[in-house]
Symmetry: C2
Subunit: 454 residues, 2 copies
């Protein structure tokens, strides 16, 4: 086995083509916002202008960067002459507007103004898309321009294009993803170092992985916006932020995580969108949720650590796919933005358009009775004969069957029961958990987590 | 923690758009080849015609399926009236031709004929692309049509579109992938069950995972074609099959695998394409190779088992991305084909084109002196004082330094030395391995593997 094996036999190829210079004026790119991502986008657009021009087939230039205060201190690499506070002028004179402001008010107004002025828009703004997506799509459609947003979900991970384009000929059954790096980091620290939530959160804030106000991350709202976007694309159905059943990680305890580990699993905050059967007629519906779940160690998402993101897509024909990479940060997010910039400018240069909104399936939202899950319920119970029978009875009465029970004596006449159910519908599981609260011998319902299969 | 958390506050969305019927005639799709993949493509195109039409914005129909023998027995779901042996007629009357014949002679002729007749082409034919890619691109360009080939690399895994489009604004540094399921299955069986290569191959053949003539898989040629395609896309440079340094797995022994495991690693057949510095001026070059390497257990590709494929792409801005999924099989490959079918037909319906060949960087091929690697060399040596000194001396004389040495006494006056080097250039490593063959006290060079870092 030699370290430099011989090349294979090949065939001669003609000379590489030399791209003919395009005499048309450069395409104009306006950047709205100049934070971590904006700075990287400007840097990469400037450094790689020649290569990008070759890929687009036409030159491009940054016409300006919208900031709140031109005088504020910022990265010295940023050309000062590009900075402006005149949003209206910037937007009115662009082939492409890159929106990196965040928020849903000014950003919405400027994105709509850009589209109406005939510019394509690339945005990383998940909240905007998850609340005003159809309105933006309609404006893009009316103007015949592109609306692209790879960076809005999972940073550099190209799952938006994957679902929107690569899987356009397949039938997606389920999408599940770790799409929020902050909560994944916190859960990781809780898992590997046994920290409590508050301690892990404080540490994440100190390191800059969590915001001073961590609500959007730890309550799951950020992940819910991404879940809505992925669900819309995967199921060709409008799904808005308000359609997402959402639960964050603030109630996850070190004890819950230790119990999951005992059962061979890890706790992860998952965004899940799935196609389910609804009612007796076998009609279809869409269920979208964000919540902490227990993943068995063999699940491909179980090993996704730290600030990484990963999305598993399960389809009829392709089976299980996974997309993995950095979910946040200036440069990774800028990479996703620039992929969209090249796509939008290619359309500008040569015609064609990115896929418009695809909502033809228009599936209804699932009800809890449509959605099937397994649950791990942990209970503090009296350590005396007959209690397990009461618990088993309470579960059975709701049509739910038990897959496994693990009992651990806690002392002081108390035991902790971990009951894992077989698949049952969410409504029945919900009633079961409620019933267990008042079952004879049960002192407290400690926690209830969905359990995924590997 | 409740199993059915409350939906978030959301905003109302306007009614979903109803797609206006398009009065234009259906787009015509011709299928060349009706093996496992072709059968699935026809099935999915037929079953999902309405949904696909909605995504494309215009109806489509399969005009015919090219077969060698209309009377041959085949899947009863396949509409007999579509089967034809008249390739010329099929190709002359299509908006899109899907080439699933394999091979590089008839397939090349028919693809060229299709493109010249003005049809876009979707193909899964890696060998064709890796040997005649530039010729096909030129024909597509001349006719103003698309040439798409997601299914040619890693089956359902959307890495072609990922590199070609999503990363178009980034700078790829390295691509490394497990892109051949047959060899991955064989190495997996050798690893988990301690089988010898011949036994594992025979078993793979029995189960239908390996062909009767397994040469293309086990010698690495199939992976080399995919490496050439990925390298071309990643580095905007023409790379043909003949440019790929290629070594298969036929010389991998159960003993090699056991030794890798002792060092905490696994042996995987990797396709690797990387950008390297060439010469003193810091010019760039491209190195492309296929060979068995030792991966540490923590590497994201180390856990990719069985017939799965995965490709890691390392870029300047995005960092490390991974794409994972089923690399072969009728339905997964058909999923990739159908994604391309939708893209090509959208262009047909609404204008625009897929990216043409991007070869603007035109980097030269690297020489062994440009490429840096670490090597694990195993040697059978005399078990006597001084031999390690001779070995260390021989390695040092070639400017290579040693990272670790592991010695195991084998009995009969013999020991086995496993030497892992630090990074050194391939030319120096090659000379080192040659010198070790004749170093005093060395009886035999057992194996030499590249070792990747996690």
């Amino acid at each position: 086995m030699s370290p430099s094996p011989a090349p294979l036999e090949g065939v001669a190829v003609p000379d590489a083509p030399t791209s003919a210079p395009d005499a048309r004026p450069d395409l104009r790119v306006a950047i709205l916002g100049c934070g971590t991502v904006g700075t990287q986008v400007v840097r990469l657009l400037t450094e790689q202008a020649r290569d990008l021009g070759a890929r687009i087939g036409r030159g491009l230039r940054v016409t300006g960067v919208l900031v709140r205060d031109v005088e504020a201190p910022r990265d010295p690499s940023l050309p000062r002459e590009l900075l402006t506070t005149d949003a209206a002028a910037l937007v009115a004179d662009a082939d492409l507007v890159v929106e990196l402001l965040g928020g849903t008010t000014t950003a919405r107004d400027l994105v709509l103004a850009s589209l109406r002025a005939g510019a394509s828009v690339v945005t990383a703004n998940k909240a905007l898309l998850a609340t005003a997506g159809p309105e933006l799509y309609a404006a893009a459609d009316a103007a015949g321009v592109d609306l692209l947003f790879e960076a809005a979900v999972a940073g550099a991970v190209p799952v938006v294009r994957g679902v929107r384009e690569s899987l356009a000929g397949d039938r997606v059954e389920r999408v599940l993803g770790i799409v929020n790096g902050t909560t994944n980091y916190i859960l990781d620290e809780m898992t590997t170092r046994g920290l409590d939530f508050d301690v892990a959160l404080a540490q994440a804030q100190e390191l800059g992985y969590a915001e001073a106000d961590p609500t959007a991350d730890v309550e799951g709202h950020d992940a819910a916006a991404k879940a809505a976007i992925l669900a819309s694309l995967a199921f060709h159905t409008r799904v808005a932020l308000g359609d997402v059943a959402c639960e964050g990680i603030t109630a996850v305890t070190a004890d819950d995580i230790a119990a999951a580990r005992e059962a061979g699993g890890v706790v992860k905050l998952l965004a899940v969108a799935e196609r389910v059967s609804s009612g007796d007629q076998g009609a279809e519906a869409v269920s979208v949720r964000v919540n902490p779940v227990i993943l068995p160690a063999a699940h491909p998402l179980a090993g996704v650590g730290g600030a990484y993101n990963a999305v598993v897509v399960e389809t009829e024909a392709a089976g299980r796919l996974m997309f993995y990479g950095q979910g946040a940060g200036g440069a990774p997010t800028a990479s996703a933005v620039l992929g969209d910039v090249v796509a939008a400018l290619r359309h500008r240069a040569h015609g064609g358009r990115a896929p418009a909104e695809s909502a033809h399936a228009a599936l209804p939202l699932a009800t809890p009775a449509d959605v099937v899950a397994r649950l791990q319920v942990r209970l503090r119970v009296d350590d005396r004969p007959g209690v397990l029978a009461h618990v088993a009875q309470a579960v059975a009465e709701h049509g739910v069957s038990i897959e496994s029970v693990h009992q651990r004596v806690a002392g002081d006449g108390e035991a902790v029961l971990a009951v894992v159910t077989h698949e049952a519908d969410e409504a029945a599981l919900h009633r079961t958990v409620e019933a267990l609260r008042t079952t004879e011998g049960v002192r407290e319902t400690v926690s209830a987590y969905r359990v995924e299969r590997a």
